[in-house]
């Protein structure tokens, strides 16, 4: 069920039953969905496990926002299925060669014909908990 239906952002009515003077100025506040989600139809949220994407600012335990509707270009951060495993990687293209880059090696792992590769979507945001 869509969140917010029951709780509402702020009940602009005081306990006495008088409308709050702030009521006319309340416009809903800052909605994180508007900032973080470009198209809710195509947006999926995933949790990251592992340490090989620190250079991209993505850490173990973070949540990433993945948009399936965006195009994949050289340098795009993606979630990709490689031979059955879902990975966070940076998409690298050079000529006809395609590779997946992570902190595990300085050079991208080049894809070969035998690899089963399918891009799940483009990572647009990372939700990092600051401890």
């Amino acid at each position: 069920m869509p969140p917010g239906a029951a709780q509402g952002p702020v009940q602009a009515v005081s306990a006495m039953g008088f409308p709050s003077p702030a009521r006319d100025y309340f416009d809903g506040g800052l909605d994180l969905n508007r900032l973080l989600v470009h198209d809710r139809v195509a947006t999926f949220i995933m949790r990251v496990s592992g340490h090989s994407m620190h250079s991209a600012g993505i850490y173990d335990g973070d949540e990433i926002i993945v948009d399936r509707s965006l195009p994949v270009k050289h340098g795009t951060m993606i979630v990709v299925s490689l031979n059955g495993q879902m990975l966070v990687r940076r998409w690298q293209t050079e000529g006809s060669q395609v590779g997946l880059l992570s902190d595990e090696s300085p050079l991208p792992v080049l894809l070969t014909e035998g690899d089963e590769v399918e891009v799940f979507g483009v990572i647009t945001r990372c939700l990092h908990y600051v401890r």
Binding site: M1, V41, S81, Q85, M86
Partner: protein, 439 residues
């Protein structure tokens, strides 16, 4: 009877878009190991098969087959099994419907996985749009759809049927762009019971009249059909001949779902009015469930603006998984009202709205027991379950230790999960069950 011209240049067309093997396709979005292998999804309580991948159909697995009968195929044929994950299916359905609504001049959500939409333009433009729809849903959501287009709803369904059964068409069939001779040949080969709205009983009666194929049904005198059957079947025959005469489908009750939607006599534009609409339709749907002795696992709310609207188009749709299968009118009404209240945009003229209940089962299952014994939400549930009966049923099904009276009698809470043994995580609706990706 004079039929409308079959091919008009600029005109509005009807498209029926549905997701192939919907439940299985939802499971495959995240789980790449389910691709290219037989997959089945089980009903509430893991009782029987409710959805099959093409590979599972090819193995001869039938819908409704009890799980224990196909279990051996897990080893012998690499069959994958999933319990119904209504949270996931509901979320994916809402995405598909919202995306479809962006393409149509009007939209009628017809079930959890299919929707009629209106498409304007020349046939070539319509074909391009149909191809775009298919590509957009695959790209943005990750499930395959088929698009069938024609002049009427009945023909759009038929067109969709052709797209589905001919892989070379890449999931898109524009009936008016096919060779008329080919259409006639297919119609003469496909049984009349495959026509939208023609059931088994009607089919038997038609056979008695010598009407077996779609072509034969199409050629039958509509007046005769009206006399021998009903005005409903007469409309079907007229629609097969290209005459649009089936309006918005407002009620539907079958194995898969109970649906109550309506066109409003005057547009609804405030939250208060929409609350009332949802409340009435939810109660009607609930009472239909009660009369049929069934319980729903999933509630869908839908609304839409007019195809002629001058203001913004809006086709809100949401699916809500019910914590326990229920037919309680109070619970269903509360949820339907709250969901649509959240979704609708006040000030826009909505001309249609409705409630669909799906994921139906004959038994409330273990879930209803929860409140019967613990009384946790019994204030909200207006219907009571005979506790001793249920305890007996559950004990028989799951063993004596599965259940007992009072909270102390419960072995442990997760006992409920027994009935969804093979469930994939609720990737899109629960923060604790997000898909984990390796970095």
């Amino acid at each position: 009877m004079s039929a409308e011209p079959r091919t008009s240049g600029h005109s509005d067309h009807v498209a029926l878009v549905d997701v192939n093997n919907f439940y299985v396709s939802c499971e495959r979005i995240f789980d790449y190991s389910l691709r290219n292998r037989p997959v089945v999804v089980l009903s509430n309580n893991d009782g029987c098969v409710v959805a099959r991948s093409q590979e599972a159909k090819d193995l001869g697995i039938a819908t409704g087959e009890p799980f224990f009968k196909v279990r051996r195929l897990m080893d012998s044929h690499n069959l994958a099994v999933r319990s119904s994950n209504y949270e996931l299916y509901g979320d994916i359905s809402a995405r598909v419907m919202e995306l479809l609504g962006r393409f149509g001049t009007w939209q009628e959500v017809y079930s959890i996985d299919e929707s009629f939409i209106g498409l304007n333009g020349t046939l070539e433009q319509v074909r391009d749009t149909a191809v775009q729809i298919r590509a957009a849903i695959t790209q943005s959501i990750g499930v395959p759809v088929c698009v069938g287009v024609s002049a009427t709803k009945t023909l759009a369904k038929f067109s969709n049927h052709i797209a589905k059964h001919n892989p070379s068409m890449d999931g898109v069939c524009i009936e008016q762009l096919m060779e008329p001779a080919l259409v006639s040949r297919i119609m003469s080969q496909v049984p009349a019971t495959d026509v939208w709205g023609v059931g088994k009983k009607t089919g038997q009666k038609l056979t008695g009249m010598g009407v077996q194929s779609i072509a034969q049904l199409k050629a039958t005198d509509p007046q005769l059909i009206r006399k021998k059957f009903s005005v409903v079947l007469q409309r079907t025959v007229m629609e097969l001949n290209g005459q649009r005469c089936i309006g918005p489908v407002e009620e539907r009750s079958d194995k898969g779902q109970v649906m109550f939607t309506r066109s409003f006599s005057t547009p609804v534009r405030t939250r208060e009015a929409m609350d009332q609409v949802m409340s009435i339709y939810a109660q009607k749907a609930a009472s239909r469930l009660a009369s049929e002795g069934r319980y729903a696992s999933l509630l869908t709310v839908t609304a839409g603006t007019s195809r002629f609207a001058t203001s913004a188009a809006s086709f809100p749709s949401a699916q809500i998984r019910l914590v326990r299968p229920t037919r309680d009118p109070i619970v269903l009404t509360k949820i339907a009202v709250a969901a649509m209240n959240e979704l609708m945009e006040p000030g826009i003229d909505y001309v249609r709205g409705g409630v669909i209940l799906s994921g139906l089962s004959e038994h409330p299952g273990v879930d209803e027991l929860d409140l019967g014994l613990l009384g946790s939400t019994s204030a909200e549930e207006s219907e009571k379950v005979n506790v001793s009966d249920v305890v007996q049923q559950v004990s028989q099904r799951f063993g004596a230790k599965a259940i007992g009276l009072g909270s102390a009698g419960l072995a442990k809470a997760p006992e409920w999960s027994m009935k969804r043994e093979h469930m994939s995580p609720r990737y899109t609706s629960d923060w604790d069950e997000l898909f984990t990706v390796q970095a």
